[in-house]
């Protein structure tokens, strides 16, 4: 190579020389310039059939480039045909075609482009592909460099220049015949010029491998080889020696189109060749040595071109031998190490060698290869300088070191990283140092949060764009974590996992995925993974090993950092608690110096003692206000704590005379890990409020307890299932149980359980409280305590409810209540009886009075002396007055007893008024009063009303009017229908009748009008009453009018007369009134004529009573005193004695006793006659021996009934002949039924009659049956029962019949028995019919 270089230099000099010597005008020698490069860009299209066509190549461009390259000037131009001969052109195209279809990026070739002035224009063209391979249209860049020397000088110039050159030079003609050779050539060939000239150089001197070679072949060869330098030829010397020549240049001499000849420049390389051969041998040995060496041996030039590499080098870096030539050392250096390596090389050049050279090379597969070794710089004149390098591959070592470093750095990352994110970043950074970890993440598995990616770097930014990608990645993480193994997964493995539905599908599957679980203490906390989506080879198994290797540390680092963060959080939390709580927190050491305290402590110390504590302070008496006692107290507690015992106490601080606070203090030892105590902690908080309320509570509790303990009633509290939890001490006093006996027992043990108490709980739950609940509490001795309880349900929000209650002993109260109730009942009953009596008396009283009055009238018509007439008149007046008074009293009492009832019946108002007029006209005439009445036209002809009561009201008012109207005045009565037509419609024929009684009387003052209608009120209440009357009349009228649903009123002025009015409501009827007979005029009969002794001191009474009895058919004997009666009774036998009770000298009772004392053979019953008509009297009389009594005034009917009752009821006992006169007997005596009704209402009447009906029928049938058997005793018995029952119920006819038959049977009169029994049955059937038809509707009459 040196040779070539040298030759070129020499050649240049020759060319220079030639240029200088050239003086021929028009010839411009091209200036050889290696700097000149022509660039042509072109597009070529390569079809599928490898047909090639130019897309874009401008010939002009090309010409221009060539002209520039060769510095051709003027009109010199080249035609394309000149430039590229057909053969060359094909070659040219073949080169480009090859380039386009191969992987190669560029290629170079030499081309000839014609000649210019005898100079061959030769270029070296480098074609570079631009753009992507395999495309139809390729862009190429042609770099055209001119090749020198292109000498086309006149031969003699050249020959002159070469004649003395050291170079071998020989020129031939176009056939190869030598025309010139220089001295050097002659010397070499050991020939004389004459010998060589004319010889054929190629045929004679330069045979190829023994054969002759013609010039054409040579020329072709030249063209093929490109560079003439590289052509080596052997030439024979004259002496037959062979000399090796290196043809360094061939200069062709052209004459137009024709080759004129050529000059060949060469050098002798025979010696060189020998040396080289030897060297080659040595080289072979060395290279074998090198190739067998493990070290990486290389030799490269200064420019980096590799001259030699050994096998180890190739294997390590992964290149083929053929590729070596194209490599450059500098390109092999790892980019990061370029700069240091270059500067190292520079130093080596200066120092000659370096044995500690280190760098990093990049292998063909991209792996870094770490090398170290020695390098030497060889430079010399002989040959170009070169570096000789021997490297050791220290990659593994470096890797190990790096791994170690990585391991260490990761271990120390915890310290360097301020937080977890920083840690993750640092881990990533460290990993990137050892592998292609551009895509890296850390996944953490959390029990609660699942898989999270606290760190996730995907350098492309396009493979994790969807949630789905992350979900899939999470599945993968799950899968790997579950396996707890490092995984090396390639695309197909991952696809398998997708198919197996282990992981969800995703858009792009990584080409390669490496993942290692992170494990701490056999617990998997997560996973680290590196992956690559584009290059499968980016990661290898070794990387997985590496990941695996560091995973433990990564896991530890993460765990440590996490713990650290947790600890930090905890610490800050604790600190926050320490500072933020309202508690005072401090600690002291064994000298009681403060070792810590919180702000609250400081604040409280300052506010209470006006001094701030400092760490290390000792609190003693001198420097703070805490008194000695307090300090001592605290020191005691501290001491205890240092002994290991905790204290808790409440302490009171008197901060000011009126300012006390309470603190609760906890003193605890601070235990170190080894159990030693160096500090004591204190915690205190203010409990003043609590303490105050506690004290208040205590006070109120005491109060409560006092009340509780002195409680008279029993207070109890129990839980919901009845267990007693609390009971007042009063339980002892009331039940004799001790409180301790009762507490814990079930409450149901202590009261009588019944349905009422059973419902208590239900009520309680419903209403939450039950008041005044009566219960019987069982005392210790088994007795019952009557209690009234208030029970309440106490609901608790957090536990089951409780029941509390108070029980009060009401045994005494209850007794009193019972007595009271009894008294009340009795009182009410008596009152009722009294009222009922009065009401019932009315009839009894009125009847005899009417009897008297009637008899007086009868008497007045007999022959009387004028004096007698006067007497009778007086009696009549008195009787009427008395009757009126009685009527009033009885009516009122009847009204008040609620007994007054109206019996509406059809009536004509006109008739009523006529009657009224009839009653009062005589009186009016007597007083010369104009008495008139008027009825309006609109009155209905008949109305349903109680005529008697209406008459009563009218009479009352009319009598008053007449009474208070002076003589010659007037009284007027007006009757009208004032019915509202609408209401008439509405209430169906109910008319409102208004009646006015006006007079021209004395009038009534306004004041008196107000009380006029009240009871016992008279307008004239003076003691000297001018007008008589009970004062009840108007009151009764008012009540009666009310019963008639009407109103009553008066308008009057003193001296101007009065106008009384009243209204009544009555329905119209079309039925005319029935013709009624006066009940008072009923005839009374007796069925027998008993002998009666009437004893009465009052002559009138004697007379009246005697008359009634006589008229009734009795034989009456009168006695005007007791003595007389005694006398009479001994003279004659009487059936009955009527005895007045109130008599002078010997009253009725004494007389009766005397009579009884007589022990007469036949003792007649004695009936008392008394004005004491009250209930209590009857008893008194009966006790006195009187058989019965009858009240005064004597009424005829009662009197006669009494006689009948006694004489006929007992007549058989007295063996009295009797007449069977059934006249006057009733089927049913309603009075008796009414009496019975008093004892139980209508129901008792119905039931009794019904009972009777059934039994009586049975009795009668049985009697008839017995008659057939002549069982008289049985008949007698049945009759006896029937008699008693019938008489009791007032079934008079049946009773009487039974009694008669019984009496007959007792006298053995049985001849008519059968007929009598049938009559009895007849009577019974009559009764039945009566009961079922007529009786029922009249029950309430």
């Amino acid at each position: 190579m040196d040779l070539q270089h040298k030759s070129r230099e020499e050649l240049m000099k020759i060319i220079e020389k030639m240029r200088k010597t050239s003086h021929e005008p028009g010839v411009a020698l091209p200036h050889p310039s290696s700097e000149k490069v022509g660039l042509i860009f072109a597009k070529v299209r390569l079809s599928e059939l490898h047909q090639f066509s130019w897309e874009h190549l401008h010939v002009e461009d090309y010409n221009q480039v060539i002209a520039q390259l060769f510095e051709l000037q003027g009109a010199h131009s080249l035609s394309l045909e000149d430039r590229i001969s057909g053969e060359e052109k094909n070659q040219w195209l073949l080169h480009i075609k090859h380039l386009l279809t191969s992987e190669e990026k560029s290629l170079s070739f030499t081309g000839h482009y014609g000649s210019l002035n005898g100079m061959q224009l030769t270029t070296q063209t480098t074609v570079d592909k631009i753009g992507r391979p395999q495309e139809a249209v390729q862009r190429i860049c042609l770099q055209i460099v001119p090749v020198y020397p292109w000498v086309a000088a006149p031969d003699h110039h050249l020959e002159n220049a070469l004649i003395h050159s050291n170079l071998l030079a020989v020129t031939t003609d176009h056939q190869g015949k030598i025309t010139f050779c220089n001295t050097a050539f002659l010397d070499l060939t050991e020939s004389e010029a004459q010998e060589l000239l004319g010889e054929n150089l190629f045929e004679e001197l330069m045979p190829v491998r023994g054969e002759k070679m013609d010039m054409k072949k040579f020329l072709h060869l030249t063209a093929e080889r490109g560079f003439t330098e590289n052509i080596k030829r052997t030439i024979k010397t004259r002496l037959g020696k062979t000399v090796d020549l290196n043809l360094i240049s061939i200069i062709l001499h052209n004459e137009g189109q024709h080759l004129k000849g050529m000059t060949i420049l060469a050098e002798d390389i025979t010696e060189q060749k020998k040396v080289r051969k030897r060297l080659h041998e040595t080289n072979l040995q060395l290279s074998e040595l090198f190739n067998n060496a493990y070290d990486l041996i290389q030799i490269f030039q200064e420019n980096g071109n590799l001259l030699f590499v050994n096998k180890a080098w190739r294997e390590t870096l992964g290149y083929q031998e053929t590729e070596i030539k194209l490599l450059n050392f500098f390109e092999l250096i790892h980019p990061q190490y370029q700069a240091p390596t270059r500067s190292l090389l520079q130093r080596v050049r200066e120092e000659g060698r370096n044995s500690k050279f280190r760098t990093v090379l990049v292998a063909k597969d991209g792996d870094a290869v770490y090398v170290s070794g020695s390098i030497s710089w060889k430079s010399g004149s002989e040959r170009p300088a070169e570096y000789r390098v021997i490297f050791h591959d220290i990659s593994e070592q470096v890797k190990a070191e790096r791994l170690q470093r990585l391991y260490n750095s990761i271990t120390s990352l915890t310290m360097q990283s301020s937080d977890l994110d920083q840690l993750y970043f640092n881990i990533h950074r460290e990993l990137k140092k050892v592998m292609d970890a551009n895509n890296f993440y850390i996944a953490l598995a959390d029990e609660f949060k699942g898989i999270t990616f606290p760190y996730f770097i995907e350098s492309h930014g396009k493979y994790f764009n969807h949630e789905q990608d992350y979900e899939s990645e999470k599945d993968l993480v799950d899968y790997v974590i579950a396996s707890n193994k490092a995984h090396f997964l390639q695309e197909e493995d991952l696809l398998d996992l997708v198919t197996a539905t282990v992981i969800r599908p995703r858009a792009v599957i990584p080409q390669i995925w490496l993942g290692v679980p992170l494990t701490v203490n056999k617990r998997v906390i997560g996973l680290i993974a590196v992956l690559n989506f584009e290059k499968r080879t980016a990661l290898c198994e070794r990387d997985l090993d590496m990941l695996d290797f560091v995973s433990g540390q990564v896991a530890l680092a993460i765990e440590r950092k996490r713990n650290e963060e947790k600890l930090n959080e905890q610490t800050s939390r604790l600190n926050a608690i320490f500072e933020s709580s309202s508690h005072l927190i401090w600690s002291v050491d064994q000298q009681y110096r403060f070792t810590s305290f919180n702000q609250n402590f400081v604040r409280v110390m300052q506010s209470h003692y006006q001094m701030a504590p400092a760490l290390g302070d000792v609190y003693h008496e001198d420097n703070h206000r805490v008194t000695n006692d307090y300090l001592k107290h605290f020191i005691d507690k501290y001491k205890r704590a240092f002994e290991g015992r905790s204290s808790q106490f409440e302490i009171e601080f008197q901060l000011a005379p009126e300012y006390k606070i309470w603190k609760q203090v906890f003193i605890n030892p601070v235990l170190r890990g080894d159990g030693s105590i160096h500090e004591v902690s204190g915690i205190a908080h203010d409990i003043t409020q609590r303490k105050k309320s506690e004290l208040a509570l205590l006070e109120s509790e005491e109060k409560f307890r006092n009340i509780f303990e002195s409680f008279q009633d029993i207070y109890f509290r129990c839980n919901i299932d009845g267990t007693i939890t609390m009971i007042s001490p009063s339980v002892k006093e009331l039940t004799d149980f001790e409180t301790s006996d009762v507490i814990g027992k079930n409450i149901t043990n202590y009261y009588l359980y019944d349905s009422r108490t059973k419902n208590l709980i239900r009520k309680l739950v419903k209403n939450t409280s039950v008041r005044n609940f009566e219960a019987s509490v069982i005392k210790a001795n088994g007795e019952l305590l009557q209690c009234i309880c208030n029970v309440r349900l106490i609901e608790h929000p957090d536990r089951s409810p409780e029941i509390e209650g108070v029980a009060r002993d009401i045994t005494e109260l209850k007794k009193a209540n019972q007595a009271l109730q009894k008294a009340k009942d009795l009182a009410e009953k008596s009152l009722k009886v009294k009222e009922a009596f009065l009401a019932n008396m009315s009839h009894e009283i009125r009847t005899p009075m009417n009897g008297i009055i009637s008899m007086i009238d009868v008497l007045a018509e007999t022959d009387l002396s004028p004096q007698q007439t006067d007497y009778v008149e007086t009696i009549k007046t008195s009787s009427e007055t008395l009757l009126s008074i009685l009527n009033d009293i009885l009516d009122l009492s009847k009204i008040e007893a609620g007994k007054m009832k109206l019996y509406p019946a059809p009536a004509s108002l006109e008739q009523v008024l006529k009657k009224l007029y009839g009653l009062f006209s005589q009186k009016a005439v007597t007083k010369s009063i104009r008495f008139t009445y008027a009825l309006s036209d609109n009155l209905p002809p008949y109305l349903l009303l109680d005529e008697v009561r209406l008459l009563q009201v009218l009479s009352n008012l009319t009598a008053n009017a007449l009474k208070f109207t002076p003589e010659k005045g007037w009284v007027q009565i007006k009757v009208e229908d004032v019915t509202d037509p609408q209401s008439l419609q509405k209430y169906r024929a109910e008319h409102t009748i208004r009646i006015e009684i006006s007079d021209s009387g004395i009038g009534i003052s306004q004041e008196d009008q107000k009380t006029l209608f009240e009871k016992f009120n008279q307008a004239d209440s003076s003691s000297t009453k001018k007008y008589e009357g009970t004062g009840l009349g108007l009151s009764i009228a008012k009540q009666l009018v009310h019963l008639m649903q009407g109103g009553i009123g008066v308008t009057s002025h003193i001296g101007q007369g009065s106008k009384f009015w009243f209204t009544l409501k009555a329905k119209a009827t079309s039925t005319p009134p029935a013709q009624t007979t006066d009940p008072l005029l009923e005839t009374l009969y007796l069925t027998s004529s008993p002998k009666i002794l009437l004893v009465d001191d009052n002559a009138i009474n004697r007379k009246v009573t005697g008359e009634i009895l006589t008229n009734a058919g009795c034989k009456v004997t009168l006695a005007e005193s007791g003595q007389e009666a005694l006398r009479l009774i001994q003279q004659q036998t009487y059936d009955l004695v009527f005895m007045d009770i109130q008599m002078p000298e010997m009253d009725g009772i004494d007389t009766t006793k005397a009579m009884k004392a007589l022990k007469l053979p036949v003792q007649p019953p004695i009936i008392a006659m008394t004005a004491y008509s009250m209930q209590g009297d009857r008893e008194k009389f009966l006790k006195a021996g009187l058989d019965d009594y009858i009240s005064k005034p004597i009424r005829a009917k009662t009197l006669i009934q009494k006689v009948a009752e006694i004489t006929q009821g007992k007549i058989s006992n007295f063996d009295k002949p009797k007449t069977q006169n059934e006249k006057g007997l009733r089927v049913i005596n309603l009075e008796i039924l009414k009496e019975l009704e008093k004892f139980g209402g209508p129901a008792i009447v119905d039931a009794s009659l019904s009972d009777f009906e059934i039994e009586a029928e049975e009795l009668i049938e049985t009697a008839l049956e017995s008659l057939k058997k002549s069982d008289f005793a049985d008949i007698l018995s049945k009759l006896h029962t029937l008699k008693g029952n019938a008489s009791t119920l007032g079934v008079e006819k049946v009773a009487y019949r039974a009694k008669s038959i019984e009496a007959d049977m007792r006298q053995n009169k049985t001849d008519t028995l059968a007929q009598d029994l049938l009559s009895l049955k007849q009577d019974f059937l009559e009764f039945k019919k009566h009961v079922n038809s007529t009786l029922n509707p009249n029950h309430n009459v």
């Binding site: 009894k822 009942d825 009794s1248 006896h1280």
Partner: protein, 124 residues
């Protein structure tokens, strides 16, 4: 209230028995009815009564016999129960007879309801 007085009514006629019962119930007495003297004695074995209304004319054991039997009971309390006789023919017996039989009071048929109530009240 438990202070209702108890009356034993002995009467073979259901009319009188029911009537008496109803009247006295209306007066707030508690009534037990029997139909003959023997039943009176039986009833007394079981229970105590405040007063006995006794019909004289009864089958099996009449009122007089029954009254005598009651008065001769061992149980002092029961033997002293007041007896009110009811009969339609009082005149068959004298007041003396009643007294001897141990009958406290006599009510004659037809029964006067007032008298009945009054008499029973008097003895209770």
């Amino acid at each position: 209230m438990s202070d209702r007085k108890k009356v034993l009514v002995a009467e073979d006629s259901s009319v009188i028995q029911n009537l008496t019962k109803r009247i006295l119930q209306f007066q707030n007495y508690e009534i037990t009815s029997v139909r003959d003297g023997q039943q009176v004695i039986d009833a007394l074995q079981k229970e105590n009564y405040d007063v006995i209304l006794m019909d004289i004319n009864m089958p099996k054991m009449n009122g007089m016999e029954c009254s005598r039997a009651i008065r001769s009971l061992d149980d002092k309390e029961k033997s002293r129960i007041p007896i009110i006789a009811i009969s339609g023919n009082a005149m068959n017996y004298s007041e003396e007879d009643f007294k001897n039989a141990g009958i406290n009071e006599f009510i004659q048929k037809p029964i006067d309801f007032d008298q009945l109530v009054e008499t029973v009240q008097r003895y209770t």
